[in-house]
């Protein structure tokens, strides 16, 4: 009798170990973030306060939104480096349209549509002319940045209509709108990637484009949609940013595309395509933002912050690589 029951406990504890190990291999980055968060809360004054949490949420909101759609680009094995220019372009377009027409709604729509149009062009060039996404979006980034300066005449455009500012600066039960929008985006795009043909087709294309085509997936159309949605989202993020800054800034979001891609990669999204967990993106974005926030609270000079951010990215992907290689060796 005693022997029998001890046998069961032994088996159960073995299972728990197995579950824990499985959790570590699949969600190691989540554990790293939780540990990091607890350490910061314990040792950095003011870190774990409502005010700082809201500031943290706001600081990652732009990256969060665009990372949701970048997830699909990466899932299908492509990149989009033009999002940073689209963010600036849409903000400036929104500012100019609002100032000219006095209609806030029209300005928002024009900003988002402008982003969508650029995304559509990206998608068409990549899918139909088969030009590498890296080159296409890099070229597009420069052209769009140029257009942005032309549209605003080289200067930041202050927006006259104060109604517009509530989009980025308003709040709902004390939580700023950009944070709510980010959470909504994570929900919507999380469902899209896991529960829809659009998401699974994107993953299949990234996993093996030839096989996906032979299996009857409309590869071209899916790619065009991916880049168009990416453009729309970057456009929307640009409009929100303009609202927060109360102006359209042609210099906004420089280097933003790589911030978004690094957050995704940090969360375990494969640059080769086919692997794109939404929870990884959420954690990736949070790690980037949290470390930045902690360094600000500790008054670490900007120069060192750059080093720290790059270092963290490199360490995180190195750990992930080692883990993957060990996994490959044992399976």
């Amino acid at each position: 009798m005693t022997e029998h029951s001890s046998g069961i406990t032994a088996k159960r504890s073995f299972n728990i170990m197995k579950i824990l190990r499985g959790f570590w291999t699949n969600s190691g980055i989540v554990i790293v973030y939780i540990v990091l968060f607890i350490l910061f809360s314990l040792f950095i004054p003011y870190f774990f306060t409502l005010r700082n949490m809201i500031a943290l949420g706001l600081s990652v909101s732009m990256v969060s939104m665009v990372a949701c759609t970048m997830l699909f680009c990466l899932a299908s094995g492509d990149f989009d480096l033009s999002v940073e220019s689209i963010v600036a372009f849409s903000g400036v377009v929104a500012a100019v349209v609002i100032n000219m027409s006095g209609n806030v709604f029209l300005g928002i729509i024009c900003g988002i549509a402008g982003g969508g149009l650029i995304g559509l062009m990206n998608g068409l060039i990549i899918a139909k002319i088969h030009i590498n996404a890296l080159i296409t979006t890099l070229a597009m980034a420069q052209m769009v940045r140029g257009f942005t300066f032309i549209v605003c005449g080289g200067q930041a455009r202050t927006i006259g209509n104060a109604n517009f500012f509530s989009l980025g600066n308003g709040n709902f039960f004390g939580i700023p709108n950009p944070i709510l929008i980010s959470i909504l985006c994570f929900g919507v795009f999380g469902i899209l990637i896991n529960k829809t043909t659009y998401g699974k087709d994107s993953l299949a294309i990234g996993g093996n484009i030839e096989a996906a085509y032979l299996a009857g997936i409309n590869v071209d159309r899916t790619k065009v949609i991916i880049f168009m949605v990416q453009g729309l989202m970057a456009g929307f993020a640009g409009v929100v940013l303009a609202s927060r800054m109360t102006s359209g800034q042609p210099n906004a979001a420089l280097g933003f595309s790589l911030d978004v891609i690094s957050a995704c990669v940090l969360g375990g999204v494969s640059l080769k395509g086919g692997i794109a967990p939404i929870k990884g993106v959420i954690v990736g974005v949070l790690i980037m933002g949290t470390v930045q926030d902690a360094m600000n609270l500790m008054n670490i000079p900007t120069f060192y912050q750059y080093i720290a951010r790059g270092g963290i990215l490199l360490i995180a992907v190195t750990i992930d690589q080692i883990k993957q290689e060990r996994l490959r060796k044992s399976t």
């Binding site: 829809t196 032979l214 009857g216 997936i217 086919g274 044992s330």
Partner: protein
């Protein structure tokens, strides 16, 4: 029992699978040892342990009486062990000489010595019995010659222990004979050779002894191959004897389903006409490059036709891409499983449902995961796909099971015509026989089946009718009743070659 190379009590455990169970095996210098077994029996795992890619969970390898522990594939190479896999690891943009010596190009002060390079390469090519200019860019060579260069590369490492994993699967008859000569020469030089193949006739032709694997266990080693026959090996492999792996029965045939008229396109020299009836298995045979796969690619919408038309149940169909073909009810099981078939990083469930899932959706885009799991589970049962779960990544399955996943994908949707391009390449006898039975069953249920294959016995064994292709054109059409190997080869071989091939 004290051979030059010895495996002692090797076990390899993967999560949920015992891939190898206490394998002990000994091979002498100057002998060729064959390894046979169904897919997933453990042959490839053993080779990967020999190459240093995997570490055994238990047991050890002894070379010349000394225990050896390989930390990596490099340390195995340093111990003069070479394992030659099916996959090609060549740089397509570089030339033959550079590829042969990649990693140890002859250099002086960092500059490559072109003359030395060319000399070594030319010598090696002569050894390989290949008549290729060492300056040819590799991507311009046919697959068979690339495979030979891969083999030459491994031989340049001056290995003492050489393992071949299915080396002939993409070789033409000519290259195969060259390879056999090379392997026999290596044997004469005292090398230890391990030869893995699904083709038993190769094992009989080449090997001195043979070991049979099943489910990770070494079932039996026959020390002298002269004392064994085909049946004895097959019996050990599958645990029962397969009387007739093809299981051909003539069956009722219905209306013409697919008719191709005057079809011409890339890889097809002369317009091709043919038709398939419901319930019929139509075999396509030809040498590598005869245009069989190219013809199927045109029908499936993968390459553009130049002229001609395709009729389905009497109505002309216009197929511009695979999506169109699938809608009309034509499916293709692609020739290159790894490149065109599976999505390796996604799981079994997704790989099976990739084509059908758009018919299951709710509200336009939401997947019906209950129906998908049901569909995948049904096919896993029906086709006996060996997988620990629906969530297993397809890259972790054996080749035969990957093939079954692709077949499950095709059968998930409504089909009229099923095109199978080399459906049994690199697959063991047991699974092969299962696939043949499945083909018969599908034909009985009224599907029209087109089978493209380079394995002559297979084409003859299961087809109701055989079309032979050569040099991008259809040469002849033969009925099951009067088709013989000799006849088919007579049409398939190039004119100038016939005299010395068929006697």
């Amino acid at each position: 029992m004290d051979g030059y190379l010895q495996f002692k009590g090797i076990s390899k455990q993967f999560p949920g699978v015992q891939a190898l169970d206490n394998i002990s095996l000994s091979v002498n210098e100057g002998s060729i040892h064959g390894l046979v077994g169904e897919n997933g029996a453990g042959k490839s795992t053993l080779l990967k342990i020999l190459s240093g890619a995997y570490a055994p969970t238990k047991g050890s390898i002894f070379i010349d009486g000394k225990e050896i522990r390989f930390k990596s594939t490099k340390s195995a190479r340093d111990s003069r062990v070479a394992v030659i896999y099916q996959e090609l690891n060549l740089v397509p943009e570089m030339n033959v000489a550079e590829n042969l010596l990649l990693g140890h190009l002859p250099a002086k002060h960092g500059f490559i010595q072109t003359s030395v390079l060319d000399n070594i390469a030319a010598r090696q090519l002569a050894l390989l019995l290949e008549d290729i200019d060492p300056h040819t860019i590799v991507k311009n060579l046919p697959i068979a010659q690339r495979q030979m260069i891969e083999i030459g590369k491994a031989l340049l490492l001056n290995a003492k222990i050489i393992a071949f994993d299915e080396p002939t699967s993409s070789l033409s008859e000519k290259e195969k004979n060259q390879l056999f000569t090379i392997v026999r020469n290596l044997k004469k030089q005292g090398c230890v050779i391990i030869y893995v193949s699904h083709l038993l006739n190769e094992i009989f032709e080449l090997c001195d002894s043979v070991s049979v694997f099943r489910d990770g266990k070494l079932i039996k080693t026959f020390e002298d191959i002269r004392l064994v026959n085909n049946d004895m090996i097959v019996k050990k492999m599958v645990g029962r004897s397969i009387v007739d792996i093809y299981g051909y029965k003539s069956r009722e045939q219905g209306e013409t389903v697919l008719e191709v008229k005057g079809l011409k396109g890339p890889g097809i020299q002369k317009p091709v006409n043919f038709s398939v009836k419901s319930g019929e298995v139509l075999g396509f045979y030809g040498l590598v490059g005869a245009g069989r796969s190219e013809l199927m690619r045109i029908i499936y919408g993968l390459s553009e036709k130049e002229s001609g038309s395709i009729f389905l149940n009497g109505k002309e169909v216009f197929i511009k891409n695979p999506g169109n073909a699938l809608v009309s009810g034509i499916v293709l099981c692609p020739e290159d499983r790894m490149r065109e078939g599976i999505i390796p990083v996604r799981d079994v469930n997704e790989n099976i449902n990739i084509t059908v899932r758009k018919h299951f959706v709710k509200f336009g885009i939401f997947l019906d995961q209950v129906k998908e799991r049901q569909n995948a589970t049904d096919f896993i049962d029906k086709l006996k796909i060996k997988t620990p779960s629906l969530e297993q990544l397809v890259r972790n399955l054996s080749g035969g099971n990957q093939q079954k996943v692709i077949i499950a994908r095709l059968l998930s949707i409504e089909t009229k015509v099923i095109i199978m391009d080399e459906p049994t390449r690199g697959i063991d006898v047991g699974t092969k026989s299962e696939i043949y039975r499945l083909i018969h069953k599908l034909a009985e249920s009224g599907k029209a089946i087109i089978l493209v294959s380079s394995e002559l016995p297979e084409v003859l064994g299961i087809s109701d009718r055989v079309i032979v292709m050569r040099d991008g054109q259809k040469v002849t059409e033969l009925d099951h009743a009067d088709v013989t190997e000799k006849k088919v080869l007579h049409f398939a071989l190039p004119e100038n070659n016939k005299q010395n091939r068929i006697s």
